[in-house]
Amino acid sequence: MIAFFTRHYYVVSLILVALALGLFALDFERRRPRTRELVLVAVLVALAVASRAAFFMVPQVKPVMAVVIVAGIALGARNGFTIGALTALASNFIFGQGPWTPWQMLAFGLVGCLAGALFAKNRLPRNRWLVAAVGGVATFVLYGLIVDTSSALLFTQNLNWQTAWPIYVAGVPFNAIFAASTAVFLALFGPMLEGALTRVRKKYGLR
């Protein structure tokens, strides 16, 4: 049995990712979110997906992660994960589902969650440059690591350093562009988006 689990890295890791996403889904359903909460999440997911769709002609240069990060900061870690994961799922309805979908859901969700954990409730000052820097680094490290691990697993099945390093190295430029564009979008539009969110929440008396 143990031999089985150590041989099938890809399947086992996919099962673990699916389990994590399943637990999150269970948590979301258990909370019985109120209609307004649900719709607020849907709006942010839609804005993120629309921002990915609007930049479809430039590879990797996409504001989608910036939207997810701002959503996490404004609405907290839990909602940040929800919005990130659903953004990956929903945008793949437009761009095509594939073996990458669960990994992207996890990666986007974790970055949104991290942003919420760091900045929500003013744990860290919401300084434009600090948010941009943290967002860029989180995208590069967390998103890049998860997505590249998924392609390394897909290409080589049994992950070991000898066969996997070329894939990680090949992923670096893509992740760097994505992270840099996320940081730029955060620096440019982050405070505006957050301001709009805060204003609407105050106006409608949302928590």
Partner: protein, 325 residues
Amino acid sequence: MPADHSGGFASLHPAVSIGYFVLVIGVSVFVPHPVLLACSVLGALVLCLQLRGGRSTLRLLAGLVPLALIAAAINPLFNHQGVTIIGQIGGNPVTREALLYGAALACMLVAMLLWFTCYNVVVTTEKFLAVFGRIIPSLALTVSMALRFVPRYLRQLKAITAAQRGLGRNSASVTDSPGGDKYPWGVCHAANLLNRLRNSFAVLSILTSWALESALDTADSMHARGYGLPGRSAYRPFRFTARDAGALALILTCAAVVIVALTSGVVSAQYLPSLQLNLGAAGLPANARNLLIACAYGAFGLLCLLPVLFELQEEVAWRISRSTI
């Protein structure tokens, strides 16, 4: 080829088709067995041809083949296990087993991506949401609302930009030059880059506020109509028919045979250090083993070709009904 594919395999209940894809893709990525992989690639390729047509499939293959070659090359280049050395690259031995294993992994990748291509045609967004709407209703509703908002926002973005332009505020997202054909972009706007950036700020801010406020109105409206109250039923666009039950029974039978063969190790594949197929359960008599192996190959072959058969049956039925007009 019709863009909206609804006959044949795609007309089965979405739960059956989603389960089918999970099963076939699962077995394909799970066991690098040459016979099973061949069945899987063949089934997926023919289905892809049926669902998307020759031209689109060729274009897909043009992208897939280089990817498969890379995947096939990575393993023998960096993995030096295996007993048969067939050459040397950069002072490192290249073995036949690592080469074969790389080829099997490449087939796995191709099979998986081909199946996903078929999945994207068969399991449309509404089918996915119909199935998951029963398991995770809130999340499915959120996703379907989000997907409905996207085109709405892109349209609203155009309206806001037009209105802002009417006020003399030009934003970067406007692609046509307000100077008409007289002034090209560079002359008219190079000095105004900062201004345009500021204007596109305004446009996005307006869009965000509008999106949030109109959505909260939607939420209040849903709430007023009793969304989430107990005892409310939902419209079910898909019905589980006798045909679905038959297909499901066939799929489950085939799957059971394959899974028994795989878990007992009667059908297995080991590449490193030496190539060994179907080695497990050595205690079984040879006849029984061979029978189980043949059954497992047959069952998986049938499983992989099932959608193809459904499509063929649809095609034949259509031809017959047309010829009798």
